[in-house]
């Protein structure tokens, strides 16, 4: 299963619920304002730092760049993908579960 989260962890509870209900081993892709969760050094960073042990975690590069985050600000263990990579993840990981 491929989970996507598109909201900032500062603003909404969708990342929390995703992490609570995502099966161990499933993939999580952070997109849109959700990329904020992938950034090091915020009070929310611990959520994704904790998740990389249980899930394959990805972040959408185009959304990072739009919001002026560089790839070296991304939490270690999180992989950066583009839209083509998003398509590959959807192909590879089965059912899509968008936490809206």
């Amino acid at each position: 299963m491929l989970h996507t989260v598109n909201k900032s962890p500062f603003e909404r509870n969708s990342l929390d619920t995703c992490l609570r209900l995502a099966k161990k081993g499933s993939a999580i892709l952070l997109i849109e304002d959700g990329v904020i969760a992938a950034v090091k050094g915020t009070v929310q960073s611990a959520k994704i730092e904790g998740a990389v042990g249980n899930h394959a975690v990805y972040v959408l590069g185009p959304d990072l760049k739009a919001r002026a985050f560089s790839e070296d600000q991304v939490i270690s263990g999180v992989k950066v993908v583009d839209y083509a990579g998003f398509v590959d993840l959807a192909e590879e990981h089965g059912t899509h579960n968008a936490w809206l």
Binding site: N6, Y83, V87, A90, G94, H96, L100
Partner: protein
């Protein structure tokens, strides 16, 4: 692989329809099929033919329409959601058609993946 796409939000206010469009485009470029995009909730506003953003901004209504024309994508607007929000034949942009919610369930049944984009 066949990707069905569900778009839940209108253009501009939320990024959801931009992301859905970029996903669809990337999937088609990789040689996948996107047989149908279904527009539900405020997503029906992607089909408003009177949308005319500034020249330096993207025009999602036209971008979707072009995708339909060039890549044979079936763009379906939910009739009930569209009636509520004012998307009817009189306001429907080229490339889109109006049909029932069954077309969403069919896309889920007939595609390998149903991708959802919303708020």
């Amino acid at each position: 692989m066949k990707f069905g796409i569900l778009v839940n939000e209108g253009p501009f206010t939320h990024q959801a329809s931009d992301t859905a469009y970029q996903f669809a485009k990337a999937a088609l470029e990789k040689g996948h099929d996107v047989p149908r995009v279904f527009f539900y909730y405020d997503g029906v506003n992607n089909a408003n033919k009177y949308s005319a953003p500034q020249a330096d901004d993207r025009n999602l209504v036209k971008l979707w329409g072009a995708l339909a024309a060039e890549k044979n994508v079936d763009l379906v607007v939910c009739v009930a959601a569209g009636m509520r929000r004012g998307i009817q034949n009189e306001s429907l942009a080229p490339g889109f058609r109006i049909s029932g919610l069954g077309q969403l369930v069919e896309a889920g049944m007939g595609c390998d993946r149903l991708m959802m984009f919303g708020d």
